[in-house]
Subunit: 236 residues, 2 copies
């Protein structure tokens, strides 16, 4: 009965990985509404979970958690505020604009509280290694330190924080997901809240790159293009 | 410009300590509304901050942060839910009922996000050592582990988590506060949301004990009784 937080590509892959590879039969999924500009990701998270319920052999409980009060306190930058969405690939500077300060620790701390409440022992974090997405709270050393802090905070009935993709690039995550049958056409990554993905913001570019540009087999290429076309139709 | 989370005795003492002993001239104070039963503690936190503004030489910014969405997700037990308030001193069993799972990590993670936003470098946690209040997330080893995780999550501009009272008992915290002139008559501890403190729940007993029962001087005793009488009048 692990708990994970979810919205886009990485977290959808994690859900399939937990059920198909790790063979979990019960999964709790948390999606946070922190008033992010791409609130569409919440609707897409619901579609992904619905698809998982219909196609995978597991019980999935899905909660949407309202943390908009935290938004009002700490929002800055493009993910939640009114600043311009940056255009182009991730750089250090763009990341400083797009991050919600300390977002992953906040979401994981809440997920740990929920894990204690529902008496489960593991919280999964979909952090992955990427050439561009160098958020410090996606790094292995952060995950290990947080796992220790969580262990000490929950010492009577310890909870663990796991990040199985922490040594994988985005491309490897997508390759794994294609193998597991993740319905990427249902996921949403774009930072903009438009009807269709903008295909210009850092996360759109990272997505396109992960699907289309790197060293993948013809078979994988075909499936990736097919998914991308479906996704564009779905959102047009 | 430190950030601290506050409501009752320990956090009020921390505010005076930061300004009078550590000589901070700017302090950000966060009080969380997690729909706790003793929502009165929020009103009392405002009174305490007001008193500090009038009597101490510092700029104090005070934010009330609504995290009731988290309550709906993880609440269990007497602090936030509908269970009976336990009566008597703290025991392991009573603590398991009264805690909001992982509360301190959640509140500190949010405070760290806020520290990043307002460009300050330190977050203060009022955890103290106590014979009864053995919450694992008030222990020194937790504070150290969380400080490391926070450092790694904020590595571009590191934030520190400090807990100056972590080796002090409640009685020592109160003795320090009496010396610093903390207006304890304005603070609120009782778990029940009544007009007056119940004087029976674990936190009322801990408070009474800290003020009245332990090894303190006649002078301190006099001041403590005076405060307690004022407090009872204020809340009657």
């Amino acid at each position: 009965m692990p708990v994970l937080t979810m919205s886009g590509i990485d977290k959808s892959t994690l859900l399939w990985y937990l059920i198909k590879e790790l063979r979990y039969k019960n999964v709790h999924v948390l999606t946070f509404n922190y008033k992010q500009r791409n609130v569409k990701e919440i609707e897409h998270a619901k579609l992904v979970v619905e698809h998982a319920r219909e196609n995978l052999n597991a019980e999935i409980e899905h909660k949407i958690v309202d943390i908009t009060g935290i938004h009002e306190l700490i929002a800055r930058g493009a993910l939640t505020g009114n600043e311009e969405i940056p255009v182009g690939f991730y750089t250090d500077e763009i990341q400083k604009v797009t991050i919600v300060p300390n977002r992953n620790m906040i979401l994981l701390a809440i997920a740990v509280g929920y894990a204690i409440k529902v008496k489960t022992k593991k919280v999964f974090h979909a952090a992955h290694k990427s050439d561009y997405a160098i958020y410090p709270d996606c790094r292995k050393e952060f995950v290990k330190a947080l796992d220790t802090a969580v262990y000490l905070a929950t010492i009577f009935e310890p909870v663990e924080v796991k990040a199985p993709f922490v040594d994988m690039t985005k491309v490897k995550v997508v390759k794994l997901g294609l193998k597991l049958g993740v319905p990427y056409e249902l996921t949403w990554s774009c930072y903009k809240g438009g009807e269709r993905p903008c295909l210009k913001c850092p996360t759109c570019l990272e997505r396109t790159e992960a699907f289309l540009l790197k060293n993948i087999s013809d078979e994988e290429w075909k499936r990736a293009v097919e998914i991308y076309e479906k996704f564009k139709r779905l959102t047009s």
